[in-house]
């Protein structure tokens, strides 16, 4: 039986089921990049295990000519290359969809479905015949299935060949065997199946000069461009690639051509306590310094984040969020550190948070983080997540204004100090309640003891209630003043919307796609994406404008909802949490279903 398949060009989703550590990531990336170069909006999501080799791993590619590239969970095609997961993989294909699998071994009869099309290709067998080396046989199987997809989906062969040329420049033998493997899959598919499939690709011109980049790379670039010189970190998934990329860019751009010295210092710390300590020490001395971490690291950094907050030292923390609590699921995504970051540390503390939605904003907000940290002399935490950080996204080309200069905030130099009768660290605040600081090594007149213990506005130790409170109250006002400086919310308003939808970070694409889909059903919703904390006034205005607001976020407890309730004057009944926390990137259909469900109640 040949079930019906709807034919659609440049609008479908495929899922590739692999075993991790076999080289599939490289083949999957190749496919995604080729589609990107064909000018078609595309996304790739890597759903991988916390493991090095031998466990199931998946990669999803979605193409959509209208630019909807949030995760799609309705798969048109499954490339089933992992016999361990055949059962669930085959079940996930939509009715009328396709399953491409390695038929070197027979497929268990119980796995067959008569409402999907099976495309058997003996990849292992063919690769074993062509390649001698065991490692090559494993690796080339991946390139072979890529070849089969080139044929069945009409991926442009010249583009794929060009990519192989670039990847294996100067490694002719590798390039040739990859090309050979590609052809094995391609030829077999052409010969045995009707190519292309009803859903396939056609070149477009939707990508212009956009780039394909992951958020961690873009974050690292932002840190380079912001002028960060000291970076301290402790290895942790999914933040490690921030520092890997920072190191790579520093080696490229920061080696002084004259002196051959490194205009940077990256320190792999003994733990996250040390990493944030080093950042605080370097910032105290006037360097732009940062650390990158994930939830478990934030937990450890709590102690010293409070020190930096109270003693008013800039610090930039990149939190690439993963699934908690505890170790949680290190390779899965979530937005569950919001509350622990907003109020990190004991005592009354509040921090500045930025919420980028994609790699382009990771670049922009990373730079902003340093400016805000120095202007407000306080920690700034940029809250990325695994989906943004580790997946490749198609984003507008990153731009840079060469007239940018770092906002170093209020720092007194020797001449400034000379004009003052006496310097007191926590006095003489400006309209944003920021008092000028001095850096060590400048002048004895600016010297004081930085301390995490109770201090008065002069910087002296105190245990006197009024003196202590005076400083603590100023800190609260300083934090509130930052609301006008963090990136404002992004809005999308429609006529006469009864309800609003509020979200943050990487939910952006899925939520906006869902709003479009709901509009087609006659449900009109206003949209607001929160980009920073403390909240701008416009956030409260938006919330009050609507009968109620769906707050979409990726955690169990509605942490953004809580934060909005605590930190704005909005009534709690106006907030309707819409929560997803299984660990995979959000898809529009999940949001549509959840909002519909709530509206029906």
């Amino acid at each position: 039986m040949q079930p019906n398949s709807s034919g659609s060009v440049n609008d479908f989703a495929i899922k590739l089921a692999n075993v991790n550590g076999t080289g599939s990531a490289s083949a999957n990336g190749l496919l995604m990049q080729a589609i990107f170069r064909m000018g078609i909006p595309v996304s790739g999501k890597n759903l991988f295990p916390s493991n090095i080799q031998g466990l199931p791993t998946w990669y999803e590619i979605r193409v959509n000519d209208e630019g909807h590239t949030a995760r799609a969970i309705n798969y048109d095609l499954m490339v089933a290359m992992n016999s361990q997961t055949y059962g669930r993989d085959i079940k996930e294909v939509r009715q009328g969809g396709y399953v491409l699998y390695d038929s070197s071994w027979p497929l268990d009869k119980s796995l067959y479905r008569d409402d999907v099309n099976f495309m058997p290709i003996p990849f292992a067998q063919m690769c074993n015949e062509r390649f001698k080396d065991a490692r090559a046989r494993t690796l080339m199987k991946n390139v072979a299935y890529a070849g089969a997809l080139v044929a069945t989906l009409e991926i442009d062969m010249h583009t794929v060949e060009a990519l192989l040329d670039e990847r294996f420049a100067g490694k002719k033998a590798l390039r040739d065997s990859n090309l050979q493997a590609l052809k094995i899959g391609y030829d077999y598919a052409k010969e045995h199946f009707n190519c292309p499939l009803p859903f396939h690709l056609q070149p477009m011109d939707a990508n212009g000069d956009k780039v394909l980049i992951d958020g961690n790379t873009a974050t690292a670039l932002g840190c380079v461009y912001a002028g960060a010189t000291v970076a301290a970190w402790y290895p942790i998934t999914p933040a490690t690639s921030v520092m890997d990329a920072f190191k790579e860019f520093c080696e490229k751009y920061r080696r002084d051509p004259e002196t051959e010295r490194n205009n940077y210092c990256i320190i792999q710390a003994e733990d996250e306590l040390a990493a944030i300590g080093m950042v605080i020490g370097a910032s105290w001395n006037g360097a732009r310094a940062f650390t990158s971490t994930a939830g478990p690291g934030i937990s450890l950094m709590n102690e010293l984040l409070g020190l930096a907050y109270y003693s008013e030292i800039p610090a930039v923390v990149i939190d690439v969020q993963r699934v908690g609590p505890s170790t949680g699921m290190p390779t899965r995504t979530q937005q569950a550190d919001l509350l622990s970051c907003a109020y990190a540390s004991h005592g009354d503390t509040k921090h500045i948070l930025l919420f980028p939605a994609n790699p382009a904003e990771c670049f922009e907000f990373a730079v902003k983080s340093f400016d805000l940290a120095e202007r407000f002399q306080t920690p700034v935490i940029m809250m990325s997540d695994l989906d943004i950080g580790m997946n490749d996204w198609v984003v507008p080309r990153l731009t840079w204004d060469d007239s940018y200069r770092p906002d170093r905030g209020r720092v007194l130099n020797e001449a400034d100090l000379k004009e003052m009768p006496k310097y007191f660290r926590y006095s003489n605040e400006d309209e944003n309640f920021v008092a000028p600081r001095t850096l060590p090594g400048v002048a004895a007149k600016g010297a004081y003891v930085t301390r995490g213990s109770g201090h008065n506005k002069f910087g002296g130790y105190t245990e006197t209630p009024s003196e202590y409170q005076e400083v603590l109250d100023r800190l609260a006002k300083k934090h509130a003043a930052a609301a006008d400086f963090v990136p404002g919310p992004k809005m999308q308003m429609v006529d006469k919307a009864q309800y609003g939808v509020v979200t943050l970070g990487g939910c952006d694409l899925a939520v906006r796609e869902a709003i479009g889909a709901l509009a087609e059903q006659g449900i009109n919703l206003d949209y607001q994406r929160v980009c920073g904390f403390p909240f701008a006034n416009s956030i409260e205005t938006f919330l009050n404008q609507h009968e109620y607001n769906f707050v979409v976020e990726q955690n169990r407890d509605g942490q953004l909802s809580s934060l909005l309730t605590l930190e704005t004057g909005v009534e709690k009944k106006k907030i309707r949490p819409v929560l997803f926390y299984g660990g995979f990137p959000l898809s529009a259909s999940q949001v549509v279903e959840a909002i519909q469900g709530q509206l029906e109640k």
Partner: protein, 351 residues
């Protein structure tokens, strides 16, 4: 950390250093520690060493964690920035500070609680990174601020003020440091300023991290009979391994250093540390033998003091990271930002 402003009393007869400053210019606020606290003697030795070295006060950075010892940076060099940070974290903050500005002179003042319990990992890793700093441990075997609990350096059998005996084996910062590659290890006694001042000066001249463990009795909680960190015990059991004499760079006396029993080591900054080793054959540059010797004497209940080990050949944090000769904080932003054109070009790789 309460402190009391100290009246500045100078006398015309006070000696001046190369900068024209008197020792008063290196003092800080009045100490609020208990009368007779060993830490105050250490502070006095730090003041003297820095004055003798003619260090610009504002070029010093005084780092500390939490505890009685960590209060002391407020009691010396008012003209220098201080950082009284969090318990055990001083080495991390100093590492970051040193990475950012290599021109400052760093002194980290810590105690046995700060460095041998809560911050022991940080201390070890600062040693491994060879951060250029003087790492001072004011070691009294007891938690003073929280009123008398044993610290990790308390010896087996040592008795608390209440008469309770410690049964857990102590952590000796000197042996620990030696075992993880420390490049300068010294021990002294707060009651012996004659020995401590030259040790501190040598420590400041060292290429990397100089660990100085100072037995500094706690008069309130650990100076009784049965304590092994008391004035009396230390005086009775101290055994000097080396007598050191620090010779500043400017003084050319190399020719004099070839006498019997004298070892001289040229420090990284060109100054010279001259040792007179007390036991015959003690070689402060032979790590294995130093460790063996210290263990042997320790077994006999002796507290060996002096500059115990020294290696000027190991690169410090900055050398290992190939950073510029100027502080990273002084590298112009134009040199740090690759600019719009480079960003555009780079993005061709992300197509």
């Amino acid at each position: 950390m309460p402190s009391i402003a100290k009246p500045i009393a100078t006398h015309p007869s006070l000696q001046r250093n190369e900068l024209g400053l008197t020792i008063r210019d290196y003092e800080g606020s009045m100490s609020t520690l208990c009368a007779g606290c060993g830490h105050d003697s250490v502070t006095a030795a730090v003041v003297r060493a820095l004055w003798e070295m003619s260090l610009q006060p504002h070029m010093l950075a005084k780092m500390s964690g939490i505890g009685c010892s960590s209060k002391t940076p407020a009691y010396f060099v008012n003209g220098a920035h201080g950082f009284n940070s969090a318990h055990g974290r001083m080495p991390t903050i100093t590492t970051g500070a040193a990475a950012a500005n290599r021109e400052l002179t760093y002194i980290g003042v810590s105690g046995d609680g700060d460095s041998l319990s809560i911050g022991i990992g940080h201390m070890c890793h600062a040693i491994r990174r060879n951060v250029k700093m003087v790492y001072l441990i004011e070691n009294n075997g007891v938690y003073g601020l929280t009123k008398g609990q044993f610290s990790a350096s308390a010896d087996v059998g040592s008795k608390s003020k209440r008469g309770e005996a410690n049964r857990m084996s102590p952590i000796d910062p000197v042996m620990l440091a030696l075992s993880i590659g420390a490049t300068f290890v010294a021990r002294s006694f707060s009651g012996d300023k004659e020995q401590l001042v030259p040790i501190l000066k040598a420590a400041f001249a060292h290429r990397g991290l100089a660990l100085v463990d100072v037995v500094s009795p706690c008069v309130t909680f650990n100076d009784h009979e049965g304590s092994t960190k008391s004035y009396l015990y230390t005086r009775r059991h101290e055994a000097r391994a080396t007598e050191s004499d620090y010779v500043p760079k400017a003084t050319e006396i190399l020719a004099e250093l070839n006498g019997d029993g004298v070892t001289s080591v040229t420090m990284h900054d060109g100054s010279v540390l001259r040792f007179r080793t007390v036991p015959a054959g003690y070689d402060p540059t032979d790590r294995q033998r130093v460790m063996a010797y210290l263990q042997e004497r320790q077994a006999k209940g002796e507290v060996v003091t002096g500059v115990l080990y020294l290696d000027e050949t190991v690169p410090d944090l900055h050398e290992m990271n190939n950073t510029p000769e100027i502080p990273l904080t002084e590298v112009a932003y134009e040199k740090l930002c690759p600019g719009a054109e480079a960003l555009n070009k780079l993005q061709e790789e992300y197509r």
